[in-house]
C-alpha cells in the first residue's frame, strides 16, 4: 500500500498500453485505435493517481455530528 501502489499501477498501465499498442491490427483505424488506447490509459491512470495521492497523507479528517455511539464495538462480531 502507500505511495508504492502508484508506481505499481504506473508500470501496469505502461504494460497495458504497450500491449494495446502492439496488438491493434493494421488497418484504416489503426492510428485512431492506438491513440485512443494510449489516451484512455493515460487519463484514467492520471485521475486515479491524483485521487490516491491526495488521500495518502490527508491534512484533514472527516468530521460528523450526527453519529450515535455504537452499542457493540466494531470488532465484536
Amino acid at each position: 500500500m502507500g505511495g508504492g501502489l502508484i508506481f505499481l499501477a504506473l508500470f501496469v498501465c505502461i504494460g497495458l498500453a504497450a500491449l494495446g499498442f502492439i496488438s491493434i491490427p493494421k488497418g484504416p483505424n489503426q492510428v485512431v485505435a492506438r491513440t485512443s488506447v494510449l489516451l484512455v490509459i493515460t487519463c484514467c491512470w492520471l485521475m486515479w493517481a491524483i485521487t490516491y495521492l491526495a488521500q495518502l497523507h490527508p491534512l484533514i479528517r472527516p468530521k460528523r455530528s450526527d453519529l450515535r455511539p455504537p452499542v457493540f464495538a466494531p470488532n465484536d462480531y
Binding site: 487519463c43 485521487t51 484533514i60 468530521k63 455530528s65 455511539p69 455504537p70
Partner: protein, 875 residues
C-alpha cells in the same frame, strides 16, 4: 512537402491531395460525371470563372432541367394538395434502371410536358365548371327566396289594413298585396329587380338606394344559407380541390314603380357588385325555372365529380413514379452544372477537367473512368493526369461513423490547414474525458451510456438521415460521443465515489470512527494504516467538512490536468514544424513556449504533487500554502521564509525558474521575426545574383514561368514584388502572439478550474435531488412511511430516468411523468452544460497552442440528397 501516401489513411493529418486533370471525350463526358459523383471523391475546380452562367456550354441542358423541375414542382404541389401519398425513392429505383441519365431525361421531358398539360387542362375545366355551378346555385337561391317574398306578401293582407297609419309600414304594401291577389299584377304595373349581393355591402346598398330613390321603393332581402354557396377554386387562388370557403351573400328583391326608377336601381346594383337575375312574377313559371336550374346544378355536380375523379387518377399514377423523376432531374442538373465547370477543347473535341482528389484514391478515379466509358458504350475512356506543385489544396479527413462526430465538433471551430496536426484525433478521448470530470456520477453515467447505446442500436433503422425531428437528430448524430461520455462518466463516478449522490464502499475506509462519544458530539475520523484503493474514501460522504476536502482535491486535479493538457498541445507543435520543414521554428517558437509554461505552471503542479506525497504529520510542520508560494515567487523572488519552505533549496530554484521564464519572453518576441528577415535577405541577395532563383523551400511555390524573360533588373524587381516583406508587420504579429501566449498561460490555467466548478455543481444538485425526494421517505416510520417511500421512489426514479421503463400502475405513471422532469432535467441540463464547457476547453485552451485552422473543407461532387424532394416544395 506532402507526406508520402501511407498504406492506410490516418486521422493525424488531413489526406494528401493531388490536383488531377481529366481529358474526357464528349460522348463519355456525361457518364463520367455520373460515375464520379457516385464515387464522392473528387472536387472539381471551376475552369471558366470569367464566363457568366448564360454563356456556358451546357446552358441549354441546364435550362431544360430547370423547366422539368418547374413542371415537377407543379405536379408535386397538386399531388400534395390532394393528399395522395408519394412512393418513396427507394421503391422506385427500378424505373430508370439501365438507362443513362441523359436518356432518362429525354423520356421524362415528354412525359412531364404531357402530364402537366393534362393536369392543367383538368384544373381549368374544373374551375370553370365550379364557377358555373356557383352561378346556378345563386340563381336557385334567388328563385327560392323570391318565392318566399311573394308568399309572405300574400299572407300579410290583414296586417296591411291595421298598420296603415304606421310610418314603418312599407309604402307599397297594400298595392303589392292587391297585386298578388290579382295574380299577375294586372292593372298596376309593379316591377321588381331581384338579385344577390355580398352581405357586407348590404347596408350600404340599402342606404344608397333609399337616398337616390327618395324612399320610393320597397326592398326585402334574406340571407343565403352559408352552406349553400361554395367559393369557386379560382377565387380562393389555391390549387385544385381548394378549401370550401363560404361566400356570404344576400338575396334581395326591390319593388319600384316606373322604368326610370328601375333603371336607376339596376345601375346602382351593378355598380355595387350585385348580380341581377331575371325573375318571373308568375309563381308557376318560377317553379318551372327552379326545377330547370336544380336539374342543371345536378348535372354540373356530376360532371365536377367525374372531372375530380379523373384528375385524381392521373395524379395517383404520377405519384407512383414522381420520386424517381425528381431524382433524375436533380442528378441531371448536377451533372450539367459540373460539365459547365469544365473547359471545352475545340480542336480535339474533348473536355478538360481539373479537380482535387485524395492521392490514395486515384486508382478509384481511374476505375470510374473505365466504368463510364463502358456505360457510354465507347471504347475511349477519359485520361487522368496528375499535376505537380498545386496550390491551396482542400483539407480532407477520412472519418468513420465513430470519428465523424468528433471531427465535426472540431471542424466547427475551424477547418484545419492542409496537413497540419488534426486535433480531432485526440478529441475522441480527451473530450469525453474532460466532460466526465465535470459530470462524475456512476448512476448518471450508466443512464447516459444506455441512452446512447440504444441510439446506436437504432442505427440501421434510422440510417444517415435520422428522423425528421431536428432536436432528436442532434442527439442521434452525436450518439458515439454521448456513449463515450457516459462510459467515462461511470469511471469518474467511481473516482469521485458518487452513485446518484451516494457513495460505494468498495473496500474498507481508511478512517474509522471513535467509539467513546455521546450522541450529537462532533467526532473526527481516525486514520488507519490502510488507504482507500480506488477513488474518494466513502467516509467523506455526509461528513460536515466533506466539501473542504473535495474542493481541494478537485481544484488541484483541475490545475494538474489543465497544465498537462496544454503542455501536450504545445508539444504537438513539433510535429507541425517537422512536417512543414521548418525545424528552426522548434528553437524559435516551441522551446520558449514550453519553457515558459513549465517553469511556472509545471513547477506549480510539481509542487502540488510533492506536497501530497509528504507526510506532514511526521515532518511536524505546517504544510505551506501553494498559492501564496507562487505569488511570493513573483513578488519577492529569492526570499523564502523557513516556515513557508516546501523543500530545501527552494529559493534558488525559484529564482532560476523565474529568470528562465523571463528569458523566454524576448526569445519568443525576437527570434521568429529575425529568422524571417534573414530569409528575406537571402532571397533578395540571390535575386541580384541570377535568374531562376529557387530560393527557400518556403517560397518555392511561385510559378516557374516568372524566371524567364527580362533582364536582371526586371527579375529582381519582380522578385521584390512577389516576396513583399513588411518587417513591421511581422514584428507586430509576433508581439501580439507573444503577449497572447504569456497572458494566455495564466488565464487558460485558471480556466481549467471550471472542471472543479461544474463537478461541484453537479454533485450538489444530485444531492439535493436525493435529499428532497427519497431521503425524507426513509425517515418516516410505519405504514405511511412505506407508502411515502414507494411514492418518492417512483418520483425520484422517474425524475431520474423513467421513460424506458414500463410502469403498470397508472397513478405511478402520473407521478413518474411529473418526476421524470427532475432527473431528466439534471442529466440533460448538466450534460449540455458540461458538454459546452468541455468543448470550450478544447477550442480555446487546447487549440490555441498549436492549431492554425486556415484550411478549406473538401467538398466532393456527390449525388447526396437527390433522392428526396427538395424542402419548401410542399408547404
Amino acid at each position: 512537402m506532402d507526406a508520402a501516401v501511407g498504406e492506410f489513411p490516418s486521422l493525424l493529418r488531413s489526406e494528401t491531395m493531388s490536383l488531377i486533370q481529366l481529358y474526357v471525350p464528349i460522348d463519355v463526358a456525361h457518364s463520367t460525371v455520373e460515375q464520379l459523383a457516385v464515387l464522392e471523391r473528387i472536387q472539381f475546380k471551376d475552369l471558366n470563372p470569367e464566363v457568366n452562367p448564360f454563356q456556358r456550354t451546357y446552358v441549354s441542358q441546364v435550362r431544360r432541367c430547370d423547366e422539368a423541375e418547374r413542371r415537377l414542382r407543379f405536379l408535386t404541389v397538386q399531388i400534395a394538395s390532394q393528399s395522395i401519398p408519394m412512393r418513396p425513392y427507394l421503391d422506385t429505383i427500378g424505373l430508370f434502371a439501365g438507362r443513362s441519365g441523359a436518356q432518362a431525361l429525354e423520356e421524362l421531358d415528354s412525359r412531364l410536358v404531357e402530364s402537366e398539360q393534362r393536369v392543367a387542362a383538368m384544373n381549368t375545366s374544373y374551375e370553370s365548371l365550379e364557377k358555373r355551378a356557383l352561378e346556378l346555385e345563386e340563381a336557385r337561391q334567388v328563385l327560392i327566396e323570391t318565392d318566399v317574398f311573394f308568399r309572405e306578401a300574400s299572407s300579410r293582407s290583414e296586417e296591411i289594413r291595421t298598420s296603415y297609419d304606421d310610418t314603418s309600414a312599407p309604402l307599397l304594401g297594400d298595392v303589392e298585396q292587391r297585386g298578388v291577389e290579382e295574380s299577375g299584377f294586372g292593372g298596376f304595373e309593379l316591377e321588381f329587380v331581384a338579385g344577390t349581393i355580398d352581405r357586407a355591402r348590404m347596408p350600404t346598398f340599402e342606404r344608397v338606394l333609399w337616398r337616390v330613390l327618395r324612399g320610393n321603393l320597397y326592398m326585402n332581402y334574406a340571407e343565403i344559407d352559408d352552406s349553400a354557396l361554395p367559393v369557386p377554386a379560382s377565387e380562393s387562388g389555391s390549387s385544385a380541390g381548394g378549401e370550401e370557403k363560404k361566400l356570404r351573400k344576400n338575396v334581395f328583391i326591390i319593388f319600384a314603380h316606373g322604368q326610370e326608377l328601375l333603371d336607376k336601381i339596376r345601375k346602382i346594383a351593378e355598380s355595387m357588385g350585385a348580380t341581377l337575375f331575371p325573375i318571373d312574377s308568375n309563381a308557376d313559371k318560377r317553379e318551372d325555372k327552379l326545377r330547370e336550374v336544380s336539374s342543371r346544378i345536378e348535372d354540373l355536380n356530376s360532371v365536377l365529380y367525374n372531372t375530380n375523379q379523373t384528375r385524381r387518377q392521373e395524379l395517383v399514377k404520377i405519384a407512383e413514379s414522381i420520386s424517381a423523376w425528381w431524382a433524375v432531374v436533380r442528378r441531371e442538373k448536377i451533372v450539367y452544372a459540373t460539365l459547365n465547370l469544365w473547359q471545352w477543347d475545340q480542336g480535339r473535341k474533348t473536355l478538360v477537367a481539373e479537380g482535387w482528389v485524395p492521392t490514395r484514391d486515384i486508382p478509384l478515379i481511374q476505375g470510374a473512368l473505365r466504368q463510364a466509358s463502358e456505360d457510354a458504350g465507347s471504347s475511349v475512356s477519359g485520361i487522368l493526369h496528375e499535376l505537380r506543385a498545386a496550390k491551396n489544396p482542400p483539407t480532407f479527413h477520412r472519418t468513420n461513423k465513430v470519428t465523424e462526430g468528433f471531427q465535426a465538433i472540431i471542424d466547427s471551430y475551424g477547418i484545419g490547414s492542409y496537413q497540419e496536426i488534426n486535433p480531432g484525433l485526440f478529441t475522441v478521448i480527451t473530450f469525453p474525458f474532460l466532460f466526465a470530470v465535470m459530470f462524475g456520477d456512476i448512476g448518471h453515467g450508466i443512464l447516459m451510456a444506455a441512452a446512447a447505446f440504444s441510439l446506436i442500436l437504432m442505427e440501421k433503422k434510422l440510417g444517415k438521415k435520422g428522423t425528421g425531428s431536428e432536436i432528436f437528430d442532434t442527439f442521434y448524430f452525436g450518439r458515439y460521443i454521448i456513449f463515450l461520455m457516459g462510459l467515462f462518466a461511470i469511471f469518474t463516478g467511481f473516482i469521485y465515489n458518487d452513485i446518484f449522490s451516494l457513495s460505494l464502499n468498495l473496500a474498507p475506509s481508511q478512517f474509522r470512527w471513535p467509539t467513546d462519544f455521546k450522541a450529537g458530539d462532533v467526532v473526527e475520523g481516525i486514520q488507519t494504516a490502510a488507504r482507500y484503493p480506488f477513488g474518494v474514501d466513502p467516509a467523506w460522504h455526509g461528513a460536515d467538512n466533506a466539501l473542504i476536502f473535495t474542493n481541494s482535491l478537485k481544484m488541484k486535479m483541475s490545475v494538474v490536468m489543465g497544465v498537462l493538457h496544454m503542455s501536450f498541445a504545445i508539444c504537438l507543435q513539433i510535429f507541425n514544424h517537422l512536417h512543414f520543414k521548418k525545424p528552426e521554428l522548434i528553437w524559435a517558437e516551441f522551446l520558449p513556449q514550453i519553457l515558459f509554461m513549465e517553469s511556472i505552471f509545471g513547477y506549480l503542479i510539481a509542487c502540488i504533487v510533492y506536497k501530497w506525497s509528504v507526510n506532514w504529520e511526521e515532518a511536524a510542520r505546517n504544510p505551506p500554502n501553494l498559492l501564496n508560494m507562487l505569488i511570493k515567487m513573483f513578488l519577492s523572488p529569492g526570499n523564502v521564509l523557513p516556515e513557508d519552505q516546501l523543500y530545501p533549496g527552494q529559493a534558488t530554484i525559484q529564482v532560476f525558474l523565474l529568470l528562465l521564464a523571463l528569458v523566454c519572453v524576448p526569445w519568443m518576441l525576437c527570434t521568429k521575426p529575425y529568422l524571417l528577415w534573414k530569409e528575406h535577405q537571402k532571397i533578395t541577395e540571390q535575386g541580384y545574383h541570377g535568374i531562376g532563383a529557387n530560393g527557400h523551400d518556403a517560397l518555392s511555390q511561385e510559378d516557374e514561368s516568372d524566371a524567364e524573360g527580362g533582364g536582371h533588373a526586371v527579375v529582381s524587381a519582380e522578385m521584390d514584388e512577389e516576396h513583399e516583406f513588411d518587417m513591421g508587420e511581422h514584428v507586430i504579429h509576433q508581439v501580439i502572439h507573444t503577449i497572447e501566449f504569456c497572458l494566455g498561460c495564466i488565464s487558460n490555467t485558471a480556466s481549467y478550474l471550471r472542471l472543479w466548478a461544474l463537478s461541484l455543481a453537479h454533485a450538489q444538485l444530485s444531492e439535493v435531488l436525493w435529499s428532497m425526494t427519497i431521503e425524507g421517505a426513509f425517515e418516516m416510520e410505519g405504514a405511511a412511511g412505506v407508502a411515502f417511500l414507494v411514492v418518492m421512489f417512483a418520483m425520484w426514479f422517474t425524475l431520474t430516468v423513467a421513460s424506458a421503463f414500463p410502469v403498470a400502475n397508472p397513478e405511478a405513471h402520473v407521478k413518474a411523468a411529473l418526476t421524470l422532469v427532475l432527473l431528466a432535467v439534471l442529466i440533460v441540463m448538466e450534460g449540455l452544460s458540461a458538454f459546452l464547457h468541455a468543448l470550450r476547453l478544447h477550442w480555446v485552451e487546447f487549440n490555441s497552442k498549436f492549431f492554425v485552422g486556415a484550411g478549406r473543407a473538401f467538398e466532393p461532387l456527390t449525388f447526396d440528397g437527390t433522392d428526396e424532394i427538395p424542402a419548401g416544395v410542399i408547404l
